[in-house]
């Protein structure tokens, strides 16, 4: 498979639990060698979608192909071809990291790569029991197990939830390395900054339906077009008498900053600099920020009544 081939294709996926519709005609596809983010508020159907794709649940309708494999018809073939890090999963407390790798690799019919624990920063913890590992170490071990048998597609469900900043950055770096090696990663997360940083493409699911999909840049750009401009000056002129700017609205004056929203930030910034020069004042700080993915996500969820 080349990295441009389709690693995952989901068409018209449907799943209900009694009267509750969890997934309602969801369709998307994921090119190989990319990180694909699956986003949505709680109860949107992300985990159900992933569980259907991973062969853990039978869909009520629709079609799924992972590397061309039908998870319903051939779950064992699928489990040998993919690596999964579940949101709610664990290992027996008395199992060591080394044993865990041996255990799962042998069930996949492979000998474990002895360097894998070293790669995931767990070489010195190989003999420690799972119950004695920190949360970050457990997550890294879980990721090591998911990749140990050499799968081409990885499913990671909230892999960094509850981790400290350092552990999160370590996992982000590992995910980036795996993508660079040509692996496809399907990442379910609530962390918008994580999705914006890591994902090549994103799908936002709301109430079991696809609300929007595209690159993080495309999704963000399709929303509120106004850019935020925050400015402060050494002489304080922008705070004392904030100028009126074309195509910009003054939002607030607070903490030594004047904050604007503008649909033409270039023009607004040029006028701001001219204003400071006319008053013989100096620019102290200038921030020009596009709306973040998180803001766009909130906009989409509000619009969809979630």
């Amino acid at each position: 498979m080349t990295t441009t081939d389709c690693a995952l294709e989901v068409r018209e996926l449907r799943k209900r639990y009694g009267p509750t519709v969890a997934v309602d005609g969801l369709s998307f596809s994921v090119p190989g060698g990319t990180i694909f983010g699956l986003l949505g508020p709680n109860g949107a159907g992300k985990t159900t979608t992933l569980e259907c794709i991973e062969g853990l649940r039978s869909p009520d309708g629709g079609d799924i192909r992972v590397l061309g494999i039908d998870p319903v018809a051939h779950p064992r073939r699928l489990w040998n071809a993919i690596g999964v890090q579940l949101q709610s999963s664990g290992l027996p407390d008395t199992m060591t990291g080394r044993e865990a790798l041996q255990f799962f690799c042998r069930y996949h019919g492979q000998a474990p790569d002895p360097r894998i624990l070293e790669r995931f920063g767990l070489a010195d913890k190989a003999g420690d029991q799972y119950g004695n590992l920190s949360v970050g170490q457990k997550r890294r071990l879980s990721l090591a197990i998911a990749v140990a048998h050499g799968p081409r597609v990885l499913f990671l469900d909230e892999p960094t939830a509850g981790l400290d900043v350092e552990s999160r950055l370590e996992l982000h770096a590992l995910m980036g390395e795996l993508r660079d090696e040509g692996k496809t990663i399907i990442l379910a997360t609530h962390d918008m900054a994580e999705a914006e940083k890591l994902c090549d493409r994103i799908a936002i699911i709301i109430q079991g339906r696809l609300a929007v999909s595209g690159t993080p840049g495309q999704i963000t750009a399709a929303g509120d077009k106004r850019t935020r401009i925050s400015v402060s000056s050494t002489g304080g002129s922008v705070v004392a008498e904030p100028p009126e700017l074309p195509h910009a609205v003054l939002v607030s004056v607070k903490d030594g900053y004047a904050r604007y929203q503008s649909e033409n930030p270039g023009e607004a910034v040029t006028r701001l600099l001219r204003f400071l020069k006319e008053r013989d004042d100096e620019l102290e700080d200038l921030r020009v920020e596009r709306p973040s993915l998180e803001e766009r996500f909130m906009e989409i969820t509000r619009r969809n009544g979630s």
Binding site: G55, L91, R106, I145
Partner: protein
Amino acid sequence: MSGYLYHLAYDFRTGVRDKTLMFMNYIFPIGFFLLVGLFMTRINPAFVDIMIPGMILFAIMSATLLSLPSTVITQREAGILRSFRVNGVPAGALITIPVLGCVFHTALASVLVTVGGALLYGGRAPAAWGWFVLIFFLATLTHATLGILIGIVAGSSRAGTLLAQAVYLPSVLLGGLMVPEELIPESLGVVASFLPAAQAIRGFNAFAMGGAPAGRLAGLPLFVLGASIAVNLCLSFVLFRWDSRSGGKRRSLLALLALLPFAVSVML
């Protein structure tokens, strides 16, 4: 080494490494045996006749009913079974490997009880060792498969403990482990017939300990234990679930079929 064999070896190691399992497999039953041997032989001299099979059954029940259900339930509730599933671990391995692990550990504990019972307290040694070993395996497999079935069916740790105790406590009191069955009131004898431990004691007494086989139905306890193993295993495979969300009353009712071999023995 295949995944199944590695899993089996891991399970054997866990039975010693895990403090709770170590306690249930060895420390609790052997400690109880040493304590009971001290005073029961003085209160009831006839206890030496049933001491070895009785204390072996106690060890079997500790390793199976008191630990297997909670292990299965904990693994399911902690998402461990889901991790196993997405890595291709078959349900059959999760049902049979703990059973085989229990056989291994209870066999070791039983050797200690048999040797210790004879040397320390003058417990009567089996007259027919072949029958003794066969009935030991039947009793262990019956209790272990029942423990797994309880773990599969029980919706929570509390329910699992209650179900296991519903078998364990009557077995200790009515199973003939410490008091000969002849001394138990007849009405309670019917209840005892539903207990695997009581069937095993009847089998030990009739075939292994030198007692006289009682007529044409002497082999009935062995048939009941064998049938119980088969029924428990079938039900475990049918009712096995990977996560807590797929429970239901219907499966609990279906699990009552595990009583069928015992009900047949009462009717016969």
